[in-house]
Symmetry: C2
Subunit: 498 residues, 2 copies
Amino acid sequence: MAKPKKTPRPKAETPRGFRDYFGAEVTQRADMLAKIAAVYHRYGFDALESAAVERVEALGKFLPDVDRPNEGVFAWQEDAEAEKAGDWLALRYDLTAPLARVYSQHRNDLPTPYRRYAMGPVWRNEKPGPGRFRQFYQCDADTVGTGSVAADAEICAMLADCLEEVGIERGDYIVRVNNRKVLNGVLEVAGLSGDDKEAERGIVLRAIDKLDRLGVDGVRALLGEGRKDESGDFTKGAGLDEVQADVVMGFMQAKRSDGGQTCARLRELVGDSKVGLEGVTELETIAELLSAGGYGPDRIEIDPSVVRGLGYYTGPVYEAELTFEIKDEKGRARNFGSVAGGGRYDDLVKRFTGQEVPATGVSIGVDRLLAALQAKGRLDTATQGPVVVTVMDKARMADYQAMVAELRQAGIRAEVYLGNPKNFGNQLKYADKRGSPIAVIEGEQEHENGVIQIKDLVLGAKIAENATLEEWRDRPSQYEVARSDLVAKVREILELYR
Amino acid sequence: MAKPKKTPRPKAETPRGFRDYFGAEVTQRADMLAKIAAVYHRYGFDALESAAVERVEALGKFLPDVDRPNEGVFAWQEDAEAEKAGDWLALRYDLTAPLARVYSQHRNDLPTPYRRYAMGPVWRNEKPGPGRFRQFYQCDADTVGTGSVAADAEICAMLADCLEEVGIERGDYIVRVNNRKVLNGVLEVAGLSGDDKEAERGIVLRAIDKLDRLGVDGVRALLGEGRKDESGDFTKGAGLDEVQADVVMGFMQAKRSDGGQTCARLRELVGDSKVGLEGVTELETIAELLSAGGYGPDRIEIDPSVVRGLGYYTGPVYEAELTFEIKDEKGRARNFGSVAGGGRYDDLVKRFTGQEVPATGVSIGVDRLLAALQAKGRLDTATQGPVVVTVMDKARMADYQAMVAELRQAGIRAEVYLGNPKNFGNQLKYADKRGSPIAVIEGEQEHENGVIQIKDLVLGAKIAENATLEEWRDRPSQYEVARSDLVAKVREILELYR
């Protein structure tokens, strides 16, 4: 006889590609985002929080020839009994598509230009990989409805302020600005502006983007016939001749120590190209506006090697790079690299309204910037555990509760041990697991004498590690103080580890 | 000949039941949640942020007899090419189900007891209604892994602290505590404890929950034969006799001005019921612990009329009610009512692990609490618009940029007008739309003289409204100051409206 079948227990696991964040992981990110929000706010940007869910149609992610949305989004259909049964809904995959929808929907009520910031999770229905999750944070600021490059300049300055506000020191970052119009002008001069040259332009753009990795010779090879990499694989080149390649290489290497000189060199390179000249003038204006605001080339510089992606941008592009070195997985020193970027794009709401509305915006890579702060030791790594009031006598729980209430009212993070108090060792193990700086002990004897024991767990751990060191030997890590001195003594110890 | 068919433009609209939040709506909520998080943190609770997406199985929302998840959640299947193709994923519908999953999954790494807080959006696939959205915020704190009612007492104290921290004054709220065990004891005494009495127990619980609305007579009717409401509809009662109904009514009205007296009265009512006596003892302990922490009955009281839902809770239950009056839609004064509630539940992780793990927790109604703060005028309603530096001469954009840079560096929210500057009236309209307190003007004449005009827009608006009033007539709303006094004068005016 078969046993009656039991429903198996569900597995307690996160879906593939998702993760949980605990304690400091949550609060460090929240702190960083709050600091960035404060800078955005100071620059006149208004918060916008749209829902996580959008109509797939509004996201522009519906594949026209099939009956399902783009694979890159998480999507589902409204239930049969819903008012709009069958409509496809989806989780947003970035914060720009919802901005386009919101601006189109509410444009009569919004100021023009509209400066908005948004921060929150986005979702990608992609194959997860190491460190690549299907839900992650974005943190954007965009100005919609103005073609003035003053908007681009302002965002570059704001980006510099944001980095300093969260703890990246001046000198440890550089905001680099370029202009797609200049690049287009250079391509025109190189004879690559025709509709039939799109493939070549693509190869050139990708080649420029690889300067860091391939060096001048590698890029040059890609501009010409092509390049064989270390593995022997051959990448076809753009097929430019020497003269054409010289123009492109000249553009990429046009950076001078002084922004004015860089612009002068670019002006030479774009020759008579109308769009190229327009781009150079815009860069000059940006440099002038930034300089007037006190943002010199130590913080923001014009750098023609910044390309940023392919088809999207139409004018100024910018990128924030952290310039200090970190060790990679293999122990090699390398620059930390880009943590934010953006630029001008002009087709934000055209899909909805038919109108071209110019916009420019930046996206800060939340996780990368957090990692950078971690690498620089700029995160609040001070022990965040609570003071633990131990329970020596279960019947006197009210006394212990009174102690934590006093500590909390003094603004000190504190808790009473709420597990089974029988084994005192377990209480100290708990305090250790919580990262507690201090344990408070009041046994029968102490209670009778009106005193308490205050254990400095940070010092205690150090002494345990360095038991032979003279300097620790004579320092007590436990103090007996009057019950009435609880808050004062705890505060004194906490001050040591601030 | 038919014209070639164009793809219609997508509609720019939020999906049904979702909405966008703008500016102060976002920052006010963020501020409130940050204050609550600080209190939670001070009480030793650790942040937890799980992903928005869970496996439907882990949510316990899979209907066993059908091949689709519960209608109440937004769910979809992993794509065919995904590693776990066909798995159902869903958006979380609360923060408790993810806590259960997280605690089961990570219990070996988490401290026991585990105090955690979580705040964030949750999603319900329900029919939206006025003010009822399919995405909304929850803000929870739970203690997992201890049966000690000290955990319940602590959460009640924390709830009181949270309300005061966000701006609800002492006297404007009350945290009410009850215990389901006492209620069970009372039902036992009334002869309603058998398995065959479940329907009657349900009617009794729902009747008690309606005391506020129906009054003593209405509840009494529901305990007996039943009740006919104003519309003539009849609700069947629990069919209790006089003696039984007296016991239940006695319980509901057991509240005395002093917690000790309330407990004494409850002790009478539960008679010999073991569970009932246990419940009364727990309430006494909670009252003692709270009193030791300084939380008297002006803030937290024992109130047997608190029931909170039906099957879920197993011990102490608690609820925070705001006691001030507001006007409802029809202009009638009524109490604001409940903004938070919770209690003890013991089957949190049993579904995953088979073990019973006791837990207790609270959920704050984010939107209701925000509405309460709004009603009390406790939200930061000070004008949050930026100082607008107007553009009188497009060629001198750099000068204007320098002004906003100075203001921003002084911590003042400021922006330069980035729209088309031709029409000065439009610039002032923009400032008005932005809620700007101040406009800064520097035309050619001012520039030559090294001065600027600073327009107090708040005062300007008042003068415009009250043009006949003597008090305004002689007050200028525009000041000419030296360019070098920009920051000082702006700050002086902003101080007036703080």
